[in-house]
Subunit: 218 residues, 2 copies
């Protein structure tokens, strides 16, 4: 079954908005995430339901069918592999690749993406630490915890982000908070929830907002 760019973006959005497989996603959430209107979403949901990519009950929100989930993961796989390509081979920065990957992810060829996967030597994560599904849609979700939930003196490695905006990523880069960097939580400031962490022998302060969006493997 062929899917249009638009349909693929809806599937991806529904996938990303599902905390777990069973929980329904509502119309307004999809509309917001795709910068469109609820009425447009309703129209598209009917279409995706006809194509058996989603389970849709009027007024009750939607879940992905196995077919829809497979398709969504395929698009996410493509997105993340293209991001790796852009960063590792074409020297893009991690804050520059998202929009390009949004276009590249819609190139329809499993052969292409599997060859790209091989060319990149089967990376497990993209430049932001997000896992890359393999050709069967399988991937392990690494146990990552935001700094905001860690106790003092915890030692860990920066392994992902919850926020992908270029502004945030540029800030992290400038501050040395890059993937793979070892850090230690030193102290939480009660007043505003900010944190003091140590990185390469230096203590630095990060806001609660940053701490919430920076993921650590311990």
């Amino acid at each position: 079954m062929i899917t249009s760019f638009t349909e693929e973006n809806y599937l991806k959005s529904i996938y990303h908005l599902s905390p777990d497989e069973g929980t329904a996603v509502n119309t307004n959430a999809i509309a917001e995430s795709l910068n469109t209107k609820a009425a447009s979403v309703t129209d598209m949901l009917k279409k995706l339901a006809d194509k058996e990519f989603i389970n849709y009950i009027k007024y009750q929100g939607v879940t992905l069918t196995p077919l829809g989930r497979e398709r969504a993961l395929n698009i996410i796989r493509k997105h993340r592999l293209w991001e790796v390509f852009l960063v590792e081979k074409l020297n893009f920065k991690w804050d520059e690749v998202h929009d390009l990957a949004e276009e590249l992810e819609h190139i329809h060829s499993d052969l292409l993406i599997n060859r790209l996967d091989e060319f990149l030597e089967f990376p497990k994560t993209d430049p932001h630490g997000d896992p890359i599904p393999d050709k069967n849609g399988k991937f392990n979700v690494p146990e990552l915890i935001p700094i905001s939930r860690l106790k003092n003196e915890t030692l860990g490695i920066i392994s992902g982000v919850r926020e992908h905006s270029p502004l945030f990523l540029k800030y992290l880069e400038k501050t040395g908070l890059v993937l793979g960097q070892e850090i230690t939580i030193k102290e939480q400031i009660e007043f505003d929830g900010s944190f003091i962490i140590s990185i390469k022998e230096n203590d630095i302060m990060i806001s609660r907002e940053v701490a919430k969006n920076l993921l650590i493997a311990i």
Copy 2:
């Protein structure tokens, strides 16, 4: 000025159908090359004229404006660079890359394509021997001559094709008629216009149809 996939395909088609810059391309030719109907072409020509990509006079066919030509060359540049990437980095065969490049050429990013160009070490030609315009749209047209126009005992190097169909390319590959291969024209058979050429010490026969579509640098 943003262009849609469709508009880009029209610009490319008009470019490819122009033997030289001044000569007008007619509606039916465009329709045939894009597998669409003349009425659809007329609609699109009006749109492209409004956007100042083409000079369009009713019933008189079209030519590209400098802006349209620039845009067409940019798309062709992308197409050919992606083909090089697919063949050199992802191990695709020269007969497998066209359709994929047709999709990839519409990714909108000059930065991406310039980085790709650099990554591929600024190739001058694509896997079929067609020249790749540089970032300013400049390229040299190599002096290539079809075998059918060469005299006996001419020695030359296979450097391009006039026909890009997978069937033809597969046949060439199988027969050893690949880019860079040195050949000598031995004899033309008057009866059917076929040729005997020598390649790697062997004499082989090729039909007139093949001879017309295989380009040689002498």
